[in-house]
Symmetry: C2
Subunit: 350 residues, 2 copies
DNA sequence: CTGTTAGCGCATTCAC
DNA sequence: GTGAATGCGCTAACAG
């Protein structure tokens, strides 16, 4: 049988209450007593039963998720995953609220963070806009003992506890490597469609992509970046324009959202460039199956949400997490390894 | 506040014990009473607190993992992940034992299953050899109420509760697609190195690979399969022989283990074929970095082990699992998206 | 500063 | 058939 608080109390010759005070770092214990208890804990190899502790505390974890509003398939998918987590909240002792703010809007995000701060939740997960003011708000939260996890896009110069997202530089490099190899000897430049250079994930992807193409596929030129603000209409216009101006475009790397517009433009294009895009949505999935897109790099939104929750709960309790379990992978999808569409097929496991 | 057993008892006008009998499907309750209680449960929307239940029961989950013995990097990595899970067993209320059996040996595996059966654990995870006798043993376990999860390689004709592994046909297709594209116009046949056609995962990978190459890259011939029994020495001999017999080999797909031998053979090869292999081990990682291997398809052993444990616990309790969380991905690694080597770098999160 | 006691939500004896 | 009482391991009043 695992040792319990009673065993510690007996071994140290004190009462349960004193043991509890030591375990939970509460004041009101003489240093000698404290040391006596700590020795006993060490000696008998006590491991706290977190479940029992949570039961006794009737602990629930109020969490706030802040993410961009708007018509962005990936972000709406992320929101759906958060709602799925809300469904499970009874089992996971969480109480999750969702806040949406205008995309790429640092002041709005900051306001949302301050508002969330006032609620004093057990933790906050936020899709960051990379700005100093946002970082300042996050640091204030941390100073106040509220754990913060950045989600999808990270925040420079902040003390956020954890980043639940992919290594976007590596993602860009991977896209570059695939693009270079898929194109082979095919001549022509490569176009890049981005959302905004205001978010760190987009900047990092571009950087990685550039680095690999320059180093390993010299002679392949990259056209000036098209900034489509994750808007399908704008993306379509930009891509259409690029394909007209440069009819010899060999490849397109779409590193942001707005892929619906990209796909529309591709459908009427006389040439068939090699296309690599990010995030598996209903649109990119379809385009992959139709061979309009050659590869999709994805981050698993469900994994990111579950990971953010696990990490926030652990940080709130000062517990460790399983490092490997919280690493978000860069999923590479070709049309041959698409996962089943869970929205359209019944689950087998429930 | 969430309703508890007390609330049910009050609402139904019975005692706690009766509520418990109904909840846990125990006999000794009149049908009328039972229905009265069930109505109350329904009405007040009761959700059982599993943590509290486990506390009251002092429940632990004895689990058995059965995997192949021998000098196979992937399997030893899998074993290391199981040992990591054993480290966490105090927190997860598990008690895990590891059993190793000779590889590709159905009778030995069957004996191990029978032995595990005698222990009557809460669940069994097994790397299956695909044979009817093994399936029979598994079915007997199931009939006896012991949940079984197949790990890495699945078992045909059995009632295993769940398969914790990748879709190997899709993995083979993915390898075929990548191989076809990476080779582009480069002439020459493709060699395939397998372990054994006795395990289902290898058969399925080959099938998928063949299907895509035949359908989408006609004109690319596949040489007769080399069967290396996951043994480095044998693999090296076979690959060396193939490269001598067919100096124009353009690509090699290694769909099993024994990659150490493959890599040794590649190092002294005058030609530089495009190589796609399975499983990220220290050897394949290094070869990827050295550009001896072009892509590695991987299954995350840590994820598989954690998933198997979650599923076995859930099945033992008759609970649901989060489908998406238990889907094991086909990870595609190029040298640009290699994860940090956790064995050699300090963890940031603990 | 330290100890006693009740209770978190549930399961399980043992009476009735 | 049914109910009252006790305890799982821990926390949190409230006394002393």
């Amino acid at each position: 049988m695992r040792p319990t608080v009673h065993d510690i109390a007996a071994a140290a010759g004190v009462s349960l209450a004193t043991v509890d005070r030591v375990l939970n770092l509460r004041p009101g214990v003489r240093t000698v007593t404290r040391e006596k208890v700590e020795k006993a804990i060490e000696r008998i190899g006590y491991i706290r039963d977190v479940a029992a502790a949570n039961l006794a505390k009737s602990r629930i974890y109020p969490l706030v998720f802040i993410l961009p509003a708007g018509d962005n398939s990936f972000m709406r998918g992320l929101e759906a995953e958060i709602r799925a987590a809300i469904e499970r909240s009874a089992f996971e002792r969480t109480q999750i609220s969702i806040v949406t703010v205008p995309a790429f809007d640092a002041p709005a995000l900051q306001a949302a963070l301050e508002e969330a701060h006032a609620i004093r939740p057990a933790g906050i997960a936020v899709v960051a806009v990379d700005s100093p003011e946002v970082a300042a708000s996050v640091n204030r939260l941390r100073d106040d003992g509220i754990p913060v996890v950045t989600l999808v896009s990270d925040l420079s110069g902040s003390n956020r506890d954890h980043f639940a997202g992919v290594d976007n530089t590596a993602a860009g490099r991977t896209a570059g490597n695939l693009m270079g190899r898929f194109l082979g000897e095919r001549p022509g430049p490569v176009a890049v469609l981005a959302g905004s250079m205001l978010v760190r994930d987009h900047r990092e992807r571009l950087e990685g992509f550039r680095a690999v193409l320059d180093a390993e596929f010299p002679g392949r030129t990259i056209l000036p970046v098209l900034e489509g603000h994750d808007d399908p209409t704008e993306a379509e216009r930009l891509v259409r324009g690029a394909l007209e101006t440069h009819p010899d475009i060999a490849g397109i790397y779409s590193l942001g959202a707005g892929n619906r517009g990209l796909i529309t433009a591709l459908k009427t294009s006389p040439s068939k460039p090699c296309v690599i895009a990010h995030e598996l949505t209903p649109h990119t999935r379809r385009a992959l199956q139709d061979s309009l897109i050659d590869a999709v790099l994805n981050q698993d939104a469900g994994h990111e949400v579950r990971s953010a929750i696990r990490v926030l709960k652990a940080k709130a309790d000062g517990l460790a997490v399983i490092g490997a379990q919280e690493r978000i992978r860069i999923d590479i999808f070709l049309k041959d390894n698409l996962p089943f569409d869970e929205a359209r097929t019944p689950r087998e496991d429930l």
